[in-house]
C-alpha cells in the first residue's frame, strides 16, 4: 500500500532553488520582449508610430496589430468561441490591453523602447458597471463583431422555471438577497510568460510556458498559427502557482512566438505584476439575485436565481462548451429541495477578459457563496440557528447517488455526519454561549458556517468539451526490466505534488515503492494528450487514468506471471503486491521479477507482445463530488470595522486520500484564499475604467498574520465513479471558505439588523455597513 503520508519527491529541487520556472530557462541568442499596453479602457487607435523604438540600437523588432493583421494573427479564438485581439488594431477595449510588442537584446532595453512608441488614441466612453452594460445607448464595445449593436453575450438558464415559480407562489416564507461576488484575480506569485523558439530549418516551434494545459495549448497554437501540430512542442516547466490563471493562451504568448519567427531567435516575454493583474484571467464578477422558498419549519422548497455576469471585453472564459455559466447551476448546494431555476446573462464591459479562474471549479465558487449566504438570510428570517437550518435540509446518506433539481448526479456522502464533526470540533454550543455573553457587553463576535458540495473532474466526453476537445485524459506507463516504472500524464502540476501522488497511485496498484516510479509531465512531446490541470480534475481524471493504466500493467503481469509459474492465469491471485498461485504465497512473483521475465527469453503467453507497458485514455463516467463543512469565528471591532479571523474549522470529505499530507496542504491554501477574498481581495474600477488594483500595493493578498492556524478534520466517502474512490480536492477550500468568513462577519453584525454585506469586508466596508450606508465594492470609493 503506497497511500499515506509521504514526503514530496519534488521538494528536493525546490528547497535548493533548483526548480526550473519559465524565466529560469535561457537559450543561446535569446531576445526579450515587452508589451506596450493601453492606458485607456476604451479608445480608438488613430495611429501608432514605432520608428523611434525601431531605431533603438538594441531593438530587433517592433510588432503591432498591423503587422499581425498581415499574418492573419491579429485576432485569436478564445476558449468560449469568441475572438480576442492579440494586438489591438481598431480599438482598445480595456485598460492594459496589448497594443505593441518590442523585441530587444535585453529586458531593460525592451522596456526602454516601449517609451519610444507613440500611440495616438481617441478616447471613447467606457462601460464599467455591468449593471448598465445593456442600457439603451450604452457604448458598443464589440463593434468588430458583425451586426453587434449591444453588449449582450448570452442568456442561459437551467432548472424548471414553472415548477420553481409555483413553489415560490405557495411558499410560507421567502427571502431574497442581492449579492455581488466581485472581480478577483488568482495572482500566482509567478506571473505568466513564455519563451518561444522557432527553428527555421526544422520548422519546429518550441514554447516554454507555465501552462496548466500544455496539450490544449499545442492544439490551439496549431489552429491559431496554422503550424502543423507535430512541429509544435509545448514545455510547461515548474509553475509558480496557477490557480486557473495559467489555463488560457494570452496575447503575450502569441507575440513571443511571432517575435521568434520574425527574428529567427528565441524570444522570452515575462509579464510584470501589473500586467498580470490588469490583463490576464480574472475570476467571478457575478452580480446575483437569489431567493429561497421555504416552510415555517425551515424546510427549503425551491431556489431561484438571476445573475448578471461581467465577462469583460472579450468572452474568454475557460469552461466546457455546453455551459456558458460554467457549473453555476449546481447552486442548489448540499440541500434537499424540490425545484430550482437560474437565469444568467453575460455582458461585455471595458475590462479584461476571463471570468473562470482562481480555483473556482467552473463557477461553483459563486454558486456555493450564493446558496450559503441565502441559507443564513433564511435562518435570520426564521430565527433558526444556521447550523440547525442546514442540518434540517442536508441531503441524507440514503439519497445518494442523488440527482439534483438542475440535473447533477452527486456521487456519495454522509453530509450530516460531516457537519456534526465540524460543529463538535469547533465547540459550536460553547461558541454560541460565548457570543451571547459578548453581545451583552456590546462586543461583536461572529460564527459562520458554510456547507459546500463541489463537482469536479470534468468531465464525461458526452457532456463536456473545450473548443471541441473532449475532456478525457491519457496515461502511459512503462515498466523497465528491473521493475522501475515511468508514468507519463497530460495534467500539469502547479504545486499539487503530482510527481508524488501519481507515483503513489502506481505504487499502490503495482506493489512497488512510489520512489520507483518517475512521473513525466509538462512536455507535449513526451506525454499523451489530455486537457490539463484545473477544475480540480487531476486526481479525478488523470489520477483515474493512472490507476487504470497501472491495472492494465498488472493484468498483463498476471499473464506473464502465469507463464513463469506454468499456471493458468485464472489460478493466480494478487496478494501483497505480488501475483501468486492461489493459496501458495511461496510462488509470489514481484513486479520486478515479472518485468524482467517479460523482457527475457521466456515464451510469452498470448496477448503479451514483449513487455508490460500500457496506455489508456480515461473518460470519466461522472464528476466526483467532494464536500465539506466549514466554520469560521471572527471578532469585529465596532469602532473601526476591523475583522479578525480567530478560528477556522474545516472538515473536508474528498473520498479516499492518496497522500493526506498533500490533501491538507491543498485545503490550507484554499482557506487562505477564502480569507483573502472575503476580507481584502478585489479589483475595482473607476468610472473611466482605470484599474484600481493593479499592483500588490492595491490588490491585497492575505499574509501569515490574517490567517489563523487552520483546524482540519476529515470524513471519507469514496466516490463510486473513481477507480480508487478519490475525489478532487484542489479547489474545495477556495470554493467553500469565502461564505464561511462572510457568514461569520454578517453574524457578528446581527445586532445591527444586518443580513448581508458584499465582499471584501474591509474595515471601511464593515464600518459603513454597520452605519447602514454600504458602498459598491466593485467601483471607486467616493
Amino acid at each position: 500500500m503506497s497511500f499515506g503520508r509521504m514526503h514530496r519527491k519534488e521538494d528536493a529541487r525546490f528547497i535548493r532553488g533548483r526548480g526550473t520556472y519559465v524565466d529560469d530557462v535561457k537559450l543561446p541568442g535569446m531576445l526579450h520582449g515587452a508589451i506596450l499596453r493601453s492606458p485607456y479602457a476604451h479608445a480608438r487607435i488613430v495611429s501608432i508610430d514605432t520608428s523611434a523604438a525601431e531605431a533603438h540600437p538594441k531593438v530587433k523588432a517592433v510588432v503591432t496589430g498591423a503587422t499581425l493583421a498581415g499574418l492573419n494573427l491579429a485576432w485569436m479564438p478564445t476558449l468560449s468561441n469568441d475572438v480576442q485581439a492579440v494586438l489591438a488594431t481598431d480599438k482598445v477595449r480595456f485598460q492594459g490591453q496589448e497594443v505593441a510588442f518590442v523585441v530587444a537584446e535585453d529586458r531593460y532595453a525592451a522596456r526602454d523602447a516601449l517609451e519610444l512608441i507613440e500611440v495616438e488614441y481617441e478616447p471613447l466612453d467606457a462601460v464599467i458597471d455591468a449593471r448598465t452594460a445593456l442600457d439603451a445607448g450604452a457604448p458598443v464595445i464589440r463593434d468588430d463583431l458583425e451586426g453587434k449593436a449591444d453588449n449582450h453575450i448570452f442568456d442561459w438558464q437551467a432548472g424548471d422555471r414553472a415548477r420553481t415559480d409555483e413553489l415560490f407562489e405557495r411558499a410560507e416564507v421567502t427571502v431574497a438577497q442581492d449579492m455581488l461576488y466581485p472581480r478577483v484575480h488568482p495572482a500566482p506569485l509567478e506571473t505568466c510568460g513564455a519563451l518561444a523558439d522557432f527553428d527555421k530549418v526544422t520548422g519546429k516551434l518550441t514554447v516554454w510556458c507555465p501552462t496548466q494545459a500544455p496539450h490544449a495549448h499545442r492544439t490551439l497554437y496549431a489552429m491559431v498559427a496554422g503550424l502543423p501540430e507535430h512541429k509544435i512542442r509545448v514545455i510547461s516547466p515548474d509553475i509558480g502557482g496557477g490557480f486557473g490563471n495559467k489555463v488560457g493562451i494570452y496575447p503575450g504568448y502569441v507575440c513571443a512566438i511571432v517575435g521568434s519567427i520574425v527574428t529567427g531567435r528565441p524570444v522570452k516575454w515575462m509579464e510584470d505584476r501589473s500586467e498580470n493583474l490588469m490583463s490576464t484571467s480574472f475570476a467571478r464578477d457575478y452580480h446575483m439575485h437569489g431567493e429561497i422558498a421555504a416552510d415555517r419549519d425551515g424546510r427549503i422548497k425551491a431556489i431561484r436565481v438571476k445573475v448578471l455576469a461581467d465577462h469583460g471585453a472579450f468572452n474568454g472564459t475557460a469552461q466546457p462548451t455546453k455551459f456558458p455559466a460554467g457549473f453555476f447551476h449546481v447552486f442548489t448546494g448540499s440541500y434537499d429541495l424540490e425545484a430550482a431555476h437560474c437565469e444568467v446573462t453575460g455582458v461585455y464591459t471595458n475590462k479584461a477578459p476571463g471570468g473562470v479562474a482562481y480555483a473556482c471549479s467552473f463557477r461553483i465558487t459563486e454558486a456555493v457563496y450564493l446558496v450559503e449566504r441565502l441559507m443564513d438570510v433564511l435562518a435570520a428570517e426564521l430565527g433558526v440557528d444556521p447550523a440547525e437550518l442546514r442540518m434540517r435540509n442536508l441531503l441524507k446518506p440514503d439519497q445518494f447517488p442523488y440527482t439534483s433539481p438542475t440535473g447533477w448526479e452527486y456521487d456519495s456522502g454522509d453530509y450530516p455526519k460531516t457537519l456534526r464533526l465540524a460543529l463538535d470540533m469547533a465547540g459550536y454550543d460553547e461558541l454560541r454561549a460565548e457570543q451571547a455573553a459578548k453581545r451583552a457587553r456590546g462586543e461583536l463576535m461572529g460564527i459562520g458556517i458554510s456547507f459546500f458540495t463541489e463537482a469536479v473532474g470534468a468531465g464525461p466526453r458526452k457532456h463536456m468539451d473545450i473548443l471541441g476537445l473532449g475532456m478525457a485524459d491519457g496515461a502511459e506507463l512503462r515498466v523497465h526490466p528491473t521493475g522501475k516504472a515511468v508514468l507519463r500524464v497530460s495534467c500539469q502540476s502547479q504545486g499539487q505534488g503530482h510527481e508524488t501522488t501519481f507515483a503513489q497511485i502506481v505504487g499502490n496498484e503495482l506493489g512497488i515503492p512510489a520512489d520507483d516510479v518517475e512521473v513525466v509531465h509538462g512536455d507535449t512531446d513526451q506525454t499523451p494528450f489530455g486537457l490539463g490541470t484545473y477544475g480540480s480534475r487531476s486526481t479525478p481524471v488523470s489520477g483515474a487514468a493512472t490507476a487504470v493504466v497501472a491495472r492494465k500493467v498488472r493484468d498483463r503481469a498476471k499473464l506473464v506471471a502465469a507463464a513463469m509459474l506454468e499456471a493458468s492465469p485464472d489460478d493466480l491471485e494478487w496478494q501483497d503486491g505480488k501475483w501468486s498461485v492461489v493459496g501458495d504465497p511461496s510462488t509470489a512473483k514481484s513486479l520486478a521479477e515479472i518485468a524482467l521475465a517479460a523482457h527475457s527469453n521466456l515464451e510469452l503467453p498470448e496477448g503479451v507482445e514483449g513487455h508490460l507497458d500500457a496506455v489508456t485514455v480515461y473518460n470519466p463516467p461522472n464528476l466526483t463530488y467532494p464536500f465539506g463543512a466549514y466554520i469560521c469565528v471572527v471578532d469585529v471591532d465596532p469602532g473601526t470595522g476591523q475583522v479578525k479571523v480567530r478560528r477556522f474549522v474545516a472538515v473536508d470529505d474528498c473520498g479516499v486520500r492518496i497522500n493526506p499530507m498533500i490533501v491538507e496542504g491543498q485545503v490550507h491554501g484554499g482557506l487562505a484564499d477564502g480569507v483573502g477574498m472575503a476580507l481584502m481581495q478585489v479589483m475595482a474600477f473607476d468610472e473611466d475604467g482605470n484599474h484600481l488594483g493593479a499592483s500588490f500595493m492595491d490588490y491585497l493578498l492575505p499574509t501569515s498574520m490574517e490567517c489563523p492556524s487552520w483546524e482540519l478534520g476529515e470524513t471519507v466517502s469514496p466516490s463510486p465513479f473513481h477507480p480508487i474512490g478519490a475525489k478532487g480536492v484542489g479547489e474545495s477550500a477556495t470554493v467553500g471558505s469565502p461564505a464561511a468568513v462572510v457568514n461569520a462577519v454578517v453574524d457578528a453584525l446581527a445586532p445591527y439588523g444586518i443580513r448581508h454585506a458584499d465582499m471584501p469586508l474591509t474595515p471601511a466596508n464593515v464600518w459603513r455597513t454597520i452605519d447602514g450606508r454600504p458602498f459598491r465594492t466593485d467601483l471607486a470609493i467616493s
Binding site: D11, G242, H668, M697
Partner: protein
C-alpha cells in the same frame, strides 16, 4: 560600473549598469535562479535574499548597492552536502507546494532562527509577514520553521 559582490562565500566581479536590480544580477549575471521575483513593489517577498546576513527584498536593491557586501541566496544554504535545518523542516512539514516563495521563506527562516532560536508561532508569523505564499495558507511554513528550531535545539 565594476562591482564585486560576494555571493554564497564566493566573490564575483562584474561590470553592470547602475540600474541593474540585485535580483537580475543574481539570476542573469550569476545564473543563480533560485532567487525569484513576483512583483515590482516589494510586497511579495519571493526575491528575498540575505544581504550581510539580513534578509532584504532583492528586487528593491540595486546590484551596485551590494558592491563589497555579502549576499546569501537559497543556493548557499546547503553546506558540504548537508541541508540546512530549515530546508529539512520544509520537506518534513510540507512547507512548500509550488516552490516559488520557498527560497525567500527559507532565508527569512534562517535569519529568524539565527537571532531567535526558539520562536513561538506568533513570532514566526510576524517574521514571514512580508512574504506572500499563495499555496500553503502559511500553516505548514510555520510548522516547518518550528520543526527546524526544535531540530537545532536537539543537535
Amino acid at each position: 560600473m565594476r562591482i564585486t559582490v560576494t555571493v554564497n562565500g564566493q566573490p564575483y566581479e562584474r561590470d553592470v549598469e547602475p540600474r541593474l536590480l540585485l535580483t537580475h544580477f543574481l539570476r542573469d549575471e550569476l545564473d543563480l535562479t533560485g532567487t525569484h521575483w513576483g512583483c515590482d513593489t516589494s510586497n511579495c517577498g519571493v526575491c528575498t535574499v540575505q544581504l550581510d546576513g539580513v534578509p532584504v527584498k532583492s528586487c528593491t536593491v540595486l546590484a551596485v548597492m551590494a558592491d563589497g557586501h555579502e549576499v546569501t541566496t537559497v543556493e548557499g544554504l546547503e553546506k558540504d552536502g548537508e541541508l540546512d535545518a530549515v530546508q529539512k523542516g520544509f520537506v518534513e512539514c510540507h512547507g512548500l507546494q509550488c516552490g516559488f516563495c520557498t527560497p525567500g521563506m527559507l532565508l527569512t527562516a534562517r535569519w529568524l532562527l539565527d537571532n531567535k532560536p526558539d520562536p513561538d508561532e506568533g513570532e514566526i508569523r510576524e517574521a514571514i509577514s512580508g512574504q506572500l505564499c499563495r499555496c500553503t495558507g502559511y500553516e505548514n511554513i510555520v510548522r516547518s520553521i518550528r520543526w527546524a528550531a526544535e531540530a537545532e535545539a536537539k543537535s
